[in-house]
Symmetry: C2
Subunit: 204 residues, 2 copies
DNA sequence: ACAGCCATGTAACTTGTTACATGATTTT
DNA sequence: AAAATCATGTAACAAGTTACATGGCTGT
């Protein structure tokens, strides 16, 4: 929901045309989160469908301006005044992946962790090299981009820490203390029925 | 892609029926990432469509077993051996939101930051209270769940750090050093055409 | 003339997510 | 008999993402 609402929040500052919205988003978030242009027009149509924006005038240059509605402004205000909740949807891809890997017998979780560590450290080096932040124009742009970079940096550092933590935990425990085979003896309740083929054994 | 591939990786251990897959996923990730049951069946159909699983036998209890294909196993191996890349799609919702908020003139970014800090600290307190980790069965389950919890914890801590960092930065700089009004004088190139209404002024 | 950017738009598709329908079985 | 759980499935949708088509303008 962040792209959609970010665009809406920018529109709350005044009418913009599609390409301009992209520029405004880019100025603020920089090269770390480039936005495909097509997505802008997509999102604008969906915002219109939901009553948050109206298609406005076309100027002499052919630019199609979009205007926020009152409903849209209210939505922006609501967005800004309420925090992002950590819901079920806050799924950390790396954490899911490696937890699953670590709990599956026969999977080389160490290798997966190492590969992830290499990748994240490369990423950290890149972030720390300042490359993404330079090549801006105004001071405000520079500041904004450094903040975005720092967010990515802190996040990557947290990932690195967790990976090291995970590796330590795995090392502490014997061979496969974490290994969880497929549970057997499951069907205690529910739905015995239809005649069928042979029951599949729960793996080797 | 993590749910889809996690389910596939579990199936790589042996045939499972839908509900069982949910159980296996839950055992490993615990209450932090509950999985809607419907999603399982959805995902299985999509995996079948992509040739990664086959619908297998139905046992005496009516359980429909699914089997991974060779293509599917290869996919799991590929997944496990390659790290998750930090691509453009690694979008941090909070970071986007507050960067946008901080760069929009007239927006009370401090309030938004404070609200987010309150929320994240509540979340941290909850995570640290151990509540999500207890109430497991085996030792392995306990370990797995504590790892998942730690991932959430490290992530939340990183967010807290960034929020404090952001607040500091905003305090350091005068009033609205970060404020970026909508850029004017944009249309230098491209597409002058059609006659139209009045050009919309770039806000007050 | 041509490459490259400005600009708008369309179509298709991905994963994730939820709500709902259905029905059997076990527990209380 | 009712409630809770096991189990399978369907339908619809959200948000993000990409690929493609079109065309005009600017700079070389």
């Amino acid at each position: 929901m962040s792209v959609r609402l970010s665009l809406l929040a920018i529109l709350d500052q005044g009418p913009c045309y599609g390409y301009q919205l992209r520029h405004e988003f880019d100025r603020r978030t920089g090269s770390i989160w480039p936005l495909n242009v097509g997505q802008i027009y997509n999102t604008l149509e969906r915002l219109e469908r939901d009553g948050f924006v109206r298609r406005g005038e076309t100027d002499a240059h052919g630019h199609v301006y979009w205007r926020i509605t009152d409903t849209g402004s209210a939505e922006v205000a609501r967005w800004l005044s309420s925090p992002v909740r950590r819901t079920t949807a806050s799924r950390d891809e790396v954490a899911i992946k490696l937890t699953i890997a670590a709990t599956l017998p026969g999977v080389d979780a160490d290798a997966a962790i190492s590969a992830q560590l290499v990748a994240i450290r490369e990423h950290l080096a890149l972030l720390r090299s300042d490359a993404p932040v330079t090549a801006s124009h105004g001071e405000a742009e520079l500041l904004a981009r450094s903040l975005v970079r720092d967010a990515a940096l802190f996040d990557a550092e947290a990932e690195e820490r967790w990976l090291e933590h995970l590796r330590r935990r795995l090392a502490e425990h014997p061979a496969h203390a974490l290994a969880l085979g497929l549970a057997t003896d499951r069907p205690k309740r529910g739905r015995p029925a239809k005649p069928a083929a042979a029951p599949a054994p729960a793996v080797a």
